[in-house]
């Protein structure tokens, strides 16, 4: 009889515990990006970083709500396959859930239409655009957040970074005077970075531009482009391309014996994918990046992300930072976390993000600009022996 009573008591206790767990408050943050296709690693790493950050926040008690209670963060992640159509569907789907804010997308060609369907100006009654805060971690093409006042980005400022790179090169390699560019022409980020940023910054620092070679994201043969590059015989070769074609070009450069004095890469290529694809050929390549495991916090973030099967780079660590920034904003703006007040909470988060002038980052303090962009600390890394090694801190 005692055994039966004990079993019943245990069953009640278990039931009570599960009820308490079910009643535990939660708030949803949705990530989205490319988890398939050529740039799938960005989505996979971004999701891992978001999950790792949420795990750490939840272990520390979660997010404090307006009524003083705590809520744990729930993260879900959607694959947009780096296509505009799917990105739009995904953000509409997220907006239809109780998710308070979206973190993404990966690709700039998705960010542009996606920001376009958001309301352009807050409180514009005549604009029926979607009212959902989006806090971008990866899509890095210059100046996208100005498309909508609901769009925010925590991506590095490439204009500042490459300006600094070319300025630094003048002192470090005074004999280098000419530049040749290689650009992955059909990808919004790489194209804009070459045509708007690298080219402009190189000439502003008194480099002579000798020409440019173009290829496409899905190209696998770069013989002609590298032949043009070889013919130009420039001191500096700047490659504005993602890891897949960067490696293809570097291997072709090795085959044709093209050895510039200085090799510069695209921010997005300062990742493990480049090392896994062509560590030997990338040896010596210099890239400015907003992440490197140079301090305790940055290393811890990298380790935590690795536990969720992701690797740390400038993009995934922006997703990590976003989660902590959002926690802080949600607490400062006193969101209710109630399912019935999702839209009001979204608005509070948007207003909170708009107010920010600085945010904590893994490499130091990030500045926020009036047009909702970030100005992040950065370092120069160089490929050495299969690793990205910090060679210069310009700040």
């Amino acid at each position: 009889m005692k055994k039966i009573a004990l079993a019943i008591a245990l069953a009640f206790a278990a039931g009570a515990a599960s009820t308490a767990q079910a009643q535990e408050k939660s708030i949803r943050i949705s990530g989205f990006g490319a988890k398939s296709g050529v740039v799938r690693s960005f989505g996979i790493n971004g999701e891992a970083a978001m999950l790792a950050a949420a795990d750490q926040i939840n272990k520390a008690g979660g997010v404090k709500l307006a009524d003083g209670s705590k809520a744990r963060i729930v993260v879900d992640y959607y694959d947009d396959r780096c296509t505009a159509e799917e990105g739009i569907s995904v953000i509409r789907r997220i907006a239809g859930t109780d998710s308070l804010v979206a973190v993404g997308p990966t690709c700039s060609n998705v960010a542009e239409p996606l920001f376009g369907i958001l309301q352009k100006k807050v409180d514009d009654k005549g604009d029926s655009g979607l009212q959902m805060p989006v806090f971008t971690d990866v899509a890095i093409k210059v100046g996208l957040a100005r498309i909508s006042e609901w769009a925010f980005r925590n991506v590095p400022n490439e204009m500042t970074m490459y300006s600094s790179v070319f300025y630094w090169l003048r002192g470090k390699h005074p004999q280098a005077k000419t530049v040749y560019g290689g650009v992955e022409e059909d990808f919004a980020h790489s194209r804009a970075t070459w045509h708007v940023v690298m080219k402009d910054r190189a000439t502003a620092n008194n480099y002579t531009l000798l020409g440019e070679s173009k290829w496409l994201l899905n190209d696998t043969n770069f013989a002609t482009q590298v032949r043009e590059m070889k013919k130009a015989n420039a001191d500096v070769v700047a490659i504005s391309a993602h890891p897949f074609t960067t490696c293809g070009v570097l291997k072709e450069m090795q085959r044709q014996g093209v050895k510039p004095k200085v090799l510069i890469g695209l921010t997005s290529s300062s990742s493990m994918e480049t090392m896994q694809g062509c560590a030997k050929q990338a040896e010596g390549m210099i890239i400015p990046t907003s992440y490197a495991p140079v301090n305790k916090e940055a290393k811890a973030a990298s380790d935590a992300t690795a536990k969720f099967k992701g690797s740390a780079d400038l993009h995934s660590m922006a997703a990590w930072e976003n989660m902590f920034i959002l926690k802080s904003v949600m607490e400062d703006m006193k969101i209710s976390g109630a399912k019935a007040e999702v839209q009001a909470d979204r608005r509070k988060i948007r207003d909170g993000l708009a107010k920010l002038r600085t945010t904590p980052g893994l490499l130091g303090v990030n500045s926020r600009t009036e047009d909702r962009e970030a100005d992040k600390p950065y370092l120069f890394v160089q490929a050495k022996g299969g690793q990205w090694v910090v060679i210069h801190n310009p700040l």
Partner: protein, 302 residues
């Protein structure tokens, strides 16, 4: 609900794309140029609303007219060749159009910003719907009015003498020619009509997406265009709609949560569907069965 209305918008746009290929397929011609006409419609309609300040309806009319004119001009030389040669010729046209827009810059100053197509960076801020306060439901209804009009037109054409001529050419060119049918006129008219429908779909797509670029109009889109009527079946316009619902509603959206498995399943399910339904989802037998179910009897099936 907004998500479902948004999805219905996309399904509507893809249905128009599929129907544009359906008309051409009725004559037995496989055209991969539909993505090119779709791109032309997208850029023309977007330029007229954003740069010229037109209302969307006349802009769509102009887009459809441009698409039809281009298709007619392309149709004469392209339809001189048949089979695989035609596939290559139309593919080359589609790629040509894509590369044209890849290099097409035409921007004007609007206040402190420049608007208009900017080559590889695309054409942003095509915000006719949100700027005019249209809700997602209203946009969906607007798109579907066009879809239903086009479906009704094609359904009616299919039952007219012209429809019979199209199918006759598709079934056996030699027999059709022997019966006095002008093959060139029939084929060119079909591709012209297809061009107009594709351009109309493109115009709607540009305003659905708010941003267009050359990458959106590549070989993948051309493949989808031709796949919809083939997977859906050529017996009726409803086959194309069924295929779009299957691909966009189920394969793309329904399986999104499967992550990497989605891509694998996508191809496998298409192959499976074509094996199970080699004549498409809606063949003549299905249509007869549906008619019997709703109206009784079995007469009058195409």
């Amino acid at each position: 609900m907004d998500f479902y209305f948004g999805l219905a918008q996309l399904i509507g746009v893809h249905t128009l794309l599929g129907l544009s290929a359906y008309v051409v397929l009725l004559t037995g011609q496989v055209s991969l140029a539909q993505a090119g006409f779709f791109a032309i419609g997208a850029y023309v309609a977007a330029m007229l609303t954003v740069l010229a300040g037109w209302h969307l309806v006349p802009a769509l009319g102009a887009a459809a007219l441009t698409g039809a004119t281009t298709a007619c001009a392309v149709g004469f030389p392209a339809l001189r060749v048949k089979g695989l040669m035609l596939v290559i010729a139309t593919l080359a046209f589609g790629e040509g159009v894509r590369l044209f827009f890849f290099n097409f810059d035409y921007q004007i100053a609007r206040g402190d910003v420049k608007v208009g197509p900017l080559g590889g960076e695309g054409f942003r801020q095509i915000r006719f719907f949100p700027e005019n306060g249209w809700t997602t439901l209203e946009v969906m209804l607007f798109i579907w009015i066009f879809v239903l009009l086009v479906m009704a037109l094609l359904w009616w054409l299919d039952r007219s003498r012209y429809g019979a001529v199209l199918r006759a050419v598709g079934e056996d060119e030699l027999a059709a020619q022997s019966a006095g049918i002008n093959l060139t006129a029939v084929k060119v008219s079909a591709i012209t009509l297809g061009g107009a429908i594709a351009a109309l779909g493109g115009g709607l797509y540009a305003h659905y997406a708010t941003h267009i670029e050359h990458l959106s109009f590549g070989i993948l889109l051309a493949t989808f265009a031709i796949a919809y009527p083939i997977v859906g079946g050529l017996a009726s316009v409803f086959g194309t709609l069924a295929a779009v619902l299957f691909v966009q509603g189920f394969l793309v959206e329904g399986l999104r949560d499967l992550g990497d498995w989605r891509n694998l399943l996508f191809g496998a399910l298409i192959v499976l569907a074509m094996n199970l339904r080699p004549r498409g989802f809606l063949d003549a037998g299905n249509l007869r069965a549906i008619k019997r179910l709703f109206w009784g009897g079995g007469r009058g099936a195409p």
